[in-house]
Symmetry: D2
Subunit: 362 residues, 4 copies
């Protein structure tokens, strides 16, 4: 039951890192949406590894095949299945460590839970699974754009100790670090080179901004927009924290500072991140996810074997020195899936409620 996401737009994913294929089934998509494999290309490219020296050198072609749910280029309302064959899985990289628990990875916990596991490339716990989130997210983003004019931005907003001086989301699209401050990129590349050469890795954070979400989406009490976003983002590999709007900084604020005043033209600020009481305000949705540094390092670390004997683990496979660099499009995808699910839920329950209109144009 845990490999599906969403209620009305329900995405089920399957596949292991070094198994034959990754796949997803997207159930509940409205009929009438034009869709083809080409719609996945841009987002898959943004997620792809091997594009720069700062990401894993595993080179998957990521060629999706739509198996169902689309007829003559248009969705029919039946489940959309998409398959991507794994082509560059080098399981020999992992044979040395098949019998060890890599610290910081899910090796130990999968073994503890299931009494068995697929050790090849982390099996199901690999970040390879996120390729299907991106595929499903592309469908959601297309629908949200066409039906509601919704637009997504995402970028890396922290790499280790570094934070951007200025935030220009467009800039992030054109550099390998997905960094919103172009001027800082050379310095950060140097920093990441040094981390990689040391055999180490570093954490990072990602911000997503969504423009054009109407007011009224989200469901009290346990289906709050922000609660679902938190779950969606925290479910991404390596995420250890999630916040919305001013987020953790809110804990240090005064009420007179945090609350967003309302004028006849709309809200006057956006500390809330576009969510009040779990429902969208009509402002920009703004959320962040913090990624831990990957634990696959050339620096040795103490661990144990599956038999409980002490071992030293050194990871020589292909890994990302900073997993956050590939994460913006994954965070976008999860955010889009949440929003489309809530858009459908809102139409179900409140399909005949008139949208709120401010008395003056902002």
């Amino acid at each position: 039951m845990s490999n599906r996401f969403g209620n009305l737009l329900c995405v089920t994913t399957f596949g292991e890192s070094h198994g034959p294929a990754m796949g997803c089934v997207i159930d509940g998509c409205p009929p009438g949406l034009t869709l083809s494999e080409a719609d996945f290309a841009e987002d898959l490219a943004r997620r792809r590894t091997g594009a720069s020296r700062h990401t894993s050198q595993r080179r998957e072609s990521d060629t999706p095949e739509i198996l169902s749910g689309v007829y003559q280029g248009v969705t029919t309302g039946t489940p959309i299945a998409v398959l991507i064959r794994n082509t560059d899985a080098r399981s020999r990289d992992y044979q040395a460590i098949a019998d060890q628990f890599r610290p910081g990875h899910a090796d130990f916990t999968y073994q503890a839970k299931y009494g068995t596991r697929d050790p090849r490339g982390g099996g199901r716990s690999s970040a390879r699974e996120t390729v299907m989130r991106v595929v499903a997210g592309a469908v959601a983003k297309k629908w949200l754009q066409q039906q509601h004019g919704i637009r997504f931005e995402s970028f890396v907003c922290q790499i280790g100790p570094h934070v951007p001086g200025v935030v220009d989301p467009q800039a992030a699209l054109v550099n390998a670090l997905q960094w919103p401050d172009a001027a800082q990129v050379p310095e950060l590349e140097q920093f990441l080179d040094s981390v990689r050469k040391a055999g180490d890795s570093v954490g990072g954070s990602v911000e997503v901004r969504v423009h054009g979400v109407p007011s009224g989406w989200g469901q009290p009490v346990y289906g709050k927009l922000d609660a679902l976003l938190a779950s969606a983002l925290m479910s991404i590999n390596a995420v250890k924290g999630v916040d919305i709007g001013d987020g953790f900084a809110s804990a240090g604020q005064y009420g007179s500072e945090h609350r967003d005043a309302i004028a006849t033209t709309g809200f006057q600020s956006n500390h809330s991140g576009g969510v009040l009481g779990g429902i969208s305000t009509g402002q920009v949705i703004r959320c962040r996810a913090a990624f831990k540094p990957t634990s696959s390092l050339r620096i040795p670390v103490d661990s144990i074997s599956a038999q409980g004997e002490p071992v030293q683990v050194v990871t020589t496979g292909r890994h990302d020195p900073c997993v956050a660099l590939r994460a913006p499009i994954i965070c976008e995808a999860m955010t889009a899936l949440v929003l489309m699910d809530l858009a459908l839920a809102h139409r179900a329950q409140c399909g005949d409620v008139l949208p709120f209109q401010f008395s003056e144009q902002s």
Copy 2:
């Protein structure tokens, strides 16, 4: 659909702040657990308002009545319904603002979503709803304690600019601020008095620690323990951020620093917060939630009426200067509900997997 929480242990809550009653239905609880209204007393007292000058002066007796699911003091496996009548609802406090959108509250978004709303005390969006989370959480905590020896700790770990010098969770149980550093309490009380006198409020954070969770609980990929915790905590009123283990600090760490080494006796540190790959490691589960400052202030703020006319909002009802102070037991409750749900899910799928044993006792 959004007023229920959990899958196998499914809690549905209902009730408005100033309606006749709050209630919950707890479905899926195993049979054979001794349970009576007395089991809710301690946790309800910890959540209760009016206990000190630092919380809202609304004084609810919070007298729970078990309506079903318990026979001769023992759960039967059928749904446990609990009702608490509202007794100190002063709706007149809200009549002045029934027609206004209080900035920072859900007034605007409920109106935008539903085209109507119950304005009395915030209706369904009031923190009063959390009384039922505490009731349900008490059931989960009792079961987790009896079946698995699991023990919870929770405390306030930030109030505005203040953080504890030392962290003694026991200390938090015996002061009105739920603060884990007894020496700081007088200074913090002074700070909160000044905030309250200024008609303002302040944010805060809460930490929950869970001792005794076995390894193996949690479900990849979308039902990760940490993803469900994130959703559970973010669904609490006023929460704007959630993190696990080192959380947001992980974004600034190196991999060699973050990953927890493993010895023959167990893990050697706990940066992960007791979760790897979405599954419990067997260590202490550690998570935090950041609360925004309440927006109900005596300081006026610009807003609009339901008719779209500009108004000034001043809130004179009974409110908390720092909502985090009452939140630890609520966070505990939500954490307990997640854990019990996952305990049952683990038993369902992996009921015949032998628990992992380290080769040496730690």
Copy 3:
């Protein structure tokens, strides 16, 4: 998890036959529906026992209290909780048999499942639970009527060996047997008197017809309208069979006889019962449920005690000689809940699909 029904319109019920109260929470109802306790009166009266000598003489006032979700007489979109206190529970009737398994009842299976049970009046397995289905069904029926002009009819269509000579659903509303052939009622009353006097009971069947359901409701493949109806009706106490349209008779038909031809004005017959491929055709929905005879008889039967010793069971409590007589409104309620749930699901996924129009008016 098993005490809730429906997805978008999700009803959770609780309560035991002789516990303090029965209750339900209706989550997902659209806002803006006028609703008060009076809306439940007619349907509750139709279900009520004690109205004639042919039903159990337990006399419950069935006084519902709306606890939430309605403000100033209108639904707000938040969960609607309804409570009915049990007032005529005579547990002494059951003390003699608390320690025995009544054949044909759930006593044995609840004990086998849970290792414990509430024996008073059958506890949770009692048909008393259906009072809450009727309450929830009344909400669904009101919404379906107001939004779509949908109208329900239900009647008893078999009592033991007897079937109606003519079917006039209106006639069924004005006799105690809910029988659609007025001329047969005296003979059937005599039959039921003889059954009751013999200390025995008899089975029966119920038919529901729904007028005005538009085409397009229902969801392939596992959420078919007829699959959900089957589940909904089979979940009613004592139901042993469910069919749709020509139902079981279809097994004896030829294809040239069963398929319904289509003209420019619409379908020319309705063997399908208004469902094709799990989706409504726009015709009358027609379904049936078969009820077994109640097993609570004055005629002794062999059984065992909870300790496994042989016993003779004689039931002297208040029971229905033919449980189908009270069932039409319960079947209506369950059918209404399915239809409203699917109406919302259809609006969610296909809210912008234009309804099909036949080229000519029929």
Copy 4:
């Protein structure tokens, strides 16, 4: 959301009759079950068309590929995806009628719901979808057999006007009609030949019997074993009725006749079909499904085009004269999925309840 089945063992299927492939994802299967493609062979063969002149002459090789969830021949607890490519789809058979609504099929209702449809072979509404139910069912049957010694039997129990004189489930396995009375087979073959030559079809019924289900499986009130079976069987293409135990015949019985007496060795009869109060009694589970005759006939019938113009429909593709003949294994599969789901649910909630033991061996 409607293309998945089950809660803890959750099966999602996808694929259109003449699309590239059929597939399923089986989520929640316990780890440690040996599984390979060979495990599907026997059941797929039993469902396959083209094996005799009495079934459709479409010849699919039905070659399954396991894409995930199995490592070194053993399930890992992660989702099991299975793919079967469609190889003998002759869409030209359908081009003539792509623009027409075939009476008795889902063409009209899919168009009404979605505003579009895949007309090739019925698209998603084709019985081809059931190939994946059989695949998933084979997994469930294997687990139920290994864990609980549960064994399935299924056979055709009605073909048009014919019912078996004797019922020998073993006999049904060795004739093309899956008929439990070997002596009648020649006569029935003659009957089916005459139906086929007339260009017509005929209905039929299927019975499933499950041996070895322990007492205690099933969940009151809406998750009753029989309610879930009803939904599972009614979701199969062409099913119009479902009953359990004595089923519809119960409506004509007396209580003294229907209730099953209990002795110290166990139940003395099985009118209930192995279910009381929605929970298994430990006896043989017995249920039936009634199948309508297929509507694809060479006999012309009136209908309309998608443009609403009158047309005559004649179907010349490959079809089954009696769809019930291939259905036993499909009914078995759905029954197995329900039982395994409830087995897991029972372990989740009642994993520590001791099984009921009769005081004497039967």
